[in-house]
C-alpha cells in the first residue's frame, strides 16, 4: 500500500493541501486568511486535475510534424485547468474587494470583532 501511495504522491499532496485550506477557512478569524485558504483549496484541485494527464517518459505536447509516433503528455487537463485558474483569480479579487468594503464599514477585518459590533448594533 505504501508503494502505491508513493507512486501517487501528487494526489496525496493535493488531498493534504485541500484539507489544510479547509482548516484555514474554518478556524482562522482574519478574513484575509480565509481568502488565502480558499485559494489554497483551488490550487489543490488544479494540481489534482493536471496530474491526471501525466504520462511517464513522455514529451511536452508540442507535436513535431516529422515524427508522428512519439509519446506525448495528455494536453486536455492542462487546457481545462487554464480556465479554472482564471476563475480562481477572479474569485480572489472579488473577495478582496469585499474585504476592502468590510474594513471601510466596520474598521476591522477580524471576524470575532465584526460579529461583536453587529451584536451590539442589533441590541441598540
Amino acid at each position: 500500500m505504501w508503494s502505491t501511495l508513493l507512486n501517487q504522491i501528487n494526489y496525496v499532496g493535493a488531498a493534504a493541501l485541500f484539507v489544510i485550506g479547509l482548516y484555514m477557512v474554518l478556524t482562522q478569524s482574519n478574513l484575509i486568511k480565509k481568502i488565502i485558504g480558499i485559494n489554497i483549496m483551488e490550487t489543490a484541485v488544479c494540481l489534482f486535475f493536471v496530474t491526471v494527464g501525466f504520462v511517464r517518459e513522455a514529451r511536452v505536447p508540442i507535436v513535431s510534424f516529422s515524427d508522428p509516433a512519439l509519446l506525448y503528455v495528455n494536453p486536455l487537463p492542462s487546457a481545462l485547468i487554464l480556465t479554472g485558474i482564471v476563475v480562481a483569480v477572479s474569485i480572489t479579487v472579488y473577495a478582496l474587494s469585499l474585504v476592502v468594503g468590510i474594513h471601510a464599514a466596520y474598521g476591522t477585518i477580524e471576524l470575532d470583532e465584526i460579529l461583536e459590533i453587529q451584536a451590539r448594533e442589533h441590541h441598540d
Binding site: 482548516y23 491526471v52 494527464g53 504520462v55 494536453p75 487546457a79 480556465t83 474587494s97
Partner: protein, 99 residues
C-alpha cells in the same frame, strides 16, 4: 481547555476527511501509466489531428483556441464580469463614504 474542544473535534473530522480522500486515491489508476483510461480517446484524436486541422504545433493552445474556443469565450466573459463586479463595489464604497 473549553475553547479548545471544538478545535480538537474539527481536527479529528478533517483527519477523517483526509483518510477518506487517501482511500479514494488508492482506487485510482497509477499516475503516469500510458494505458490510463484518461489518455485513450479524445486526447489521442487531438494529438493526431492537430497538425492537419490547425497547422499549429502547440496542441494545448490549439485546444483552447480552436477545438474548444467557446470555453475560452466563456472565460473572457468571466474576466469581464469580475472586473465589472470589483469596480462596482469599489465605486459604491467611494460614493457611499462621501455621503
Amino acid at each position: 481547555m473549553k475553547p479548545n474542544r471544538p478545535k480538537a473535534i474539527l481536527i479529528v473530522l478533517l483527519g477523517a476527511l483526509f483518510l477518506l480522500l487517501v482511500y479514494g486515491i488508492l482506487e485510482m489508476p497509477t499516475a503516469g501509466n500510458r494505458n490510463n483510461p484518461a489518455h485513450r480517446e479524445i486526447a489521442q484524436r487531438y494529438l493526431r489531428r492537430a497538425e492537419q486541422d490547425t497547422n499549429a504545433p502547440n496542441v494545448v493552445n490549439s485546444i483552447i483556441t480552436d477545438y474548444r474556443a467557446l470555453d475560452t469565450l466563456g472565460e473572457a466573459a468571466v474576466l469581464f464580469t469580475a472586473t465589472a463586479a470589483v469596480l462596482t463595489v469599489l465605486t459604491a464604497l467611494k460614493t457611499g463614504r462621501r455621503r
